[in-house]
Symmetry: C2
Subunit: 499 residues, 2 copies
């Protein structure tokens, strides 16, 4: 049985139930599990662990490392109090609540950095890796499913490995992955990707079969992604970005194939990508962390010739379509480790055009994309820093207001900084587009005031800038006594607007 | 005459005076000039330009691009009102004053990024490059002097070039430089540096001789650097860093050769480097932007086997010694373009250990290294962002207080963010060392409170953290109404301390 799924003969004798496998997870262990933004996550063992904890009443606390958010397991593990430390990216609502309460110790970091941190030894030993797989090769190699994430480094660094073979995942996923792990320093070599389509590694995660404790069989689809519907503002913002790209091509600053495109998860990026279907651009490529529906729509439309990502984060219908037609994407799509999709070396070399979402932006172009009111984490920083700093063109999108106008997304001073002004080229809201390239901070403020602030806040923001500029001489004029007044007014009265 | 200095025969007929050459600089031009932190800067033409402007009373405004601060020329050009836009790094006091007044439009950016911005075309055409040289080769190649900086990209992008041959610079500088310019996208290849000592380019800046308008002869030394004397606090901080490095070696996280070392300009880094002379470490290497005196002391002591930098920023006596003994450093030192010394690709591959200076640090580990009170620029961000984000170990140093205790360098909320918490591993003050690796923001606050805050501010800062943590639930608890209160109190009363 399962000769095709477990090609290493000895390992076929190591099939265990999830209930048995969860017993290998001991209190205090550090465990790395597969999964990026609801894709390719381990499904059975986490649930079995929680069931056992509940049944026995004997709590176990683990440090849980992933690629990014898991599917159902994140909420189940977090809710059961099993998670002590958690890294890296996080956006699951239950987990987020416990992180903000201080019950889960959350270490945020750049997506490209998790593998380096694990290699450095600063987090201590990684006890266990649990990875969802399509199959195990003759040599113990693990063929991942719909994401790669940090699984390669987990398998490399962990003392022991549990593999979940997911029978619901088509065997044809084999060959889609390209696993390359940068070597140890001081002998590390360049990452030899010079084209989005370059394959530089092997189609499985190398693993010493002696490290594999057991194999668990599962048969469960990935949790689909909820896409918020596209609204008029989203389409307007997408339109501005398409105009900008067109303008760059006309001025000879970009070719018709643009540069490899990256987008953070979210509807604006999805809408921009959809808009590219109708535009003049051809021979497009995608070099991103998370591939959403629109990537496959563009491949199907013949607009995108090749896409590279670390996960398939798809709606239910697109997921089913892609998985049942995966062969036709074999020469147009590759899944890579997160360290490679997000590596500064590759992003800068390729000249990626990045589109990420901001929570708030200040008048000098600094961006907050993680913390509400400076305190409450909404989501981790993810790959946005890897891309924004190294992209050839770094675009941030946000609606100009939130909560029916009570919050302005453009503020005098962001309550938390994720991206400094030097890493932000373009800001887009439904009001317009601010092109900050080659501008001083004072010029940036004028550009932002003129183009992206909601009219209800324009005068209020202009007043701040004028007062700051006349009161304080400096490269970046601020009035610290009023810099955070908008946020404080919102805390006090529920509205940033002056009455 | 000058056959050795001007080996391209035709160009020997193009020797002109600085007075004649300055006439080629027209109002409104964008001009890229050589010079990094007072080294290898053009010396005659800028002064002649200012003299002509003063003599004729006819102002000319230019956009001035450099590697970093120039020597005397910065103050002379700025003071004469010649400079419109200025980039990238800046620390000259006269220029700084005019930038903060808004009279010079200053665009700060990461050191590694200037070449990319020029390539992108977003700043418009570069009209002229003016480069100090030891000599011009048979093919028009320009052999730089004591810095490389952005000169290669200036020469590549500029319509015309003026060369200042500095006869005071020894011919033996030839062979010290390694000029490599990343190619245009989409065909850009990896930067093939895998060891600090790797030479990957040519020893001159390639230049079409037809672009050379003229050659000016000069005979003037670089402006020496002022080193503030080492004090007891500086030595204490250096001691902490050496202990940390020792500790990392003992725990197997670093080899005895550590990793390639980088330091920002400044006395603590210089003192740390000096301390390495006595330590157990061997076979050290340096991969930095600016090489200070201590680099050569360590080479002489046999501790450093190879050093790579973009400029020699030396005291007067060390400068004279190094230049008169330059041959003995030929196999131990290389000068590279700033784009290469600071490239994320190379920094991350090599695993650089970076030491940079902070102005202020907040309780969650965010760092301000450029702006006083959030408004006044002290210096540009320089290469600190390139190194801090990509280093294997990112260290920031600052004295815990300034102005005789009236300012705490550790504050609740930095008034400006240059480096986000994810890019800051270690903070060192004369009080101790805070190791932030693998910690959550709340844990970072406890570590910072325990180890690096001045005793006079410890209770005050603990009160803020306690109040914020109990009032606001969140990953990064802040009280926005009090977050900037220390800065505001200093503005109002001249002292951050509570009375």
């Amino acid at each position: 049985m399962y000769e095709d799924r477990i090609r290493h003969a000895d390992l076929r004798g190591q099939i265990v139930s999830a209930e048995e496998a969860q017993g290998w997870i001991k209190n205090g262990m550090s465990v790395g599990v597969s999964g990026v933004t609801r894709s390719g996550d381990v499904k059975a063992v986490p649930k079995a662990l929680v069931a056992a904890v509940k049944a026995t009443g004997k709590q176990r606390k683990i440090n849980l490392y992933t690629g990014a958010s898991l599917g159902e397991s994140d909420a189940i593990l977090s809710g059961a109090g099993v998670v002590d430390r958690r890294l890296p990216y996080q956006a699951d609502p239950v987990t987020r609540g416990l992180i903000n309460n201080g019950e889960i110790r959350y270490i945020d970091q750049h997506s490209s950095n998790t593998a380096e941190v694990l290699r450095s030894g600063v987090l201590g030993h990684l006890d266990l890796a649990i990875v969802e797989a399509v199959a195990i090769t003759e040599n113990g190699g693990i063929i991942p499913t719909t994401s790669v994430g940090n699984s390669p480094i987990f398998v490399q660094e962990a003392g022991k490995v549990i593999v979940e073979i997911n029978l619901a995942m088509p065997m044809e996923l084999e060959g889609l992955h390209d696993i390359f792990i940068p070597g140890e320093r001081p002998n590390r070599q360049p990452i030899p990707i010079t084209r989005v389509a370059d394959r530089i590694g092997v189609p499985y995660i190398p693993c010493d079969p002696d490290k594999i404790l057991g194999v668990v069989l599962t048969d469960e689809a990935d949790s689909p992604s909820d896409f918020t519907p596209v609204d008029a503002d989203t389409l307007t913002m997408a339109g501005y970005i398409l105009e900008l790209l067109d303008h760059e091509v006309k001025h000879g600053r970009l070719p018709l194939s643009l540069g490899p495109l990256q987008s953070g998860a979210g509807q604006v990026a999805n809408a921009v990508f959809s808009g590219l279907r109708e535009g003049p651009f051809t021979g497009l490529t995608v070099y991103t962390e998370v591939a959403q529906d629109s990537v496959f729509e563009l491949i199907d439309a013949g607009k995108v010739s090749y896409a590279s990502a670390s996960s398939l984060t798809l709606s239910e219908s697109m997921r089913d379509y892609v998985l049942s037609h995966i062969k036709q994407y074999r020469n147009k799509f590759v899944l890579r480790p997160q360290e490679i999709t997000n590596h500064p070396e590759v992003i800068r070399r390729l000249g990626v055009i990045s589109i990420n979402t901001a929570l708030e932006v200040d008048v000098y172009g600094n961006v907050n994309c993680t913390h509400i009111g400076g305190t409450q984490m909404m989501n981790g920083i993810g790959g946005s820093g890897d891309f924004a700093r190294n992209a050839a063109l770094s675009i941030f999108v946000t609606k100009s207001v939130a909560k029916g106008g009570k919050i302005s997304s453009i503020v005098p001073f962001v309550s938390h900084v994720d991206h400094i002004e030097h890493d932000v080229d373009i800001i887009v809201t439904e009001q317009g587009i601010a092109d900050l390239r080659g501008l001083t901070p004072r010029e940036k403020a004028r550009e932002i005031l003129a183009h992206v602030v909601h009219p209800e806040y324009r005068e209020q923001l202009a007043d701040y800038v004028n007062k700051a500029t006349t009161t304080n001489k400096g490269q970046t004029p601020h009035l610290l006594s009023e810099a955070l007044a908008w946020h404080i007014r919102y805390e006090d009265s529920g509205d940033m607007r002056l009455r």
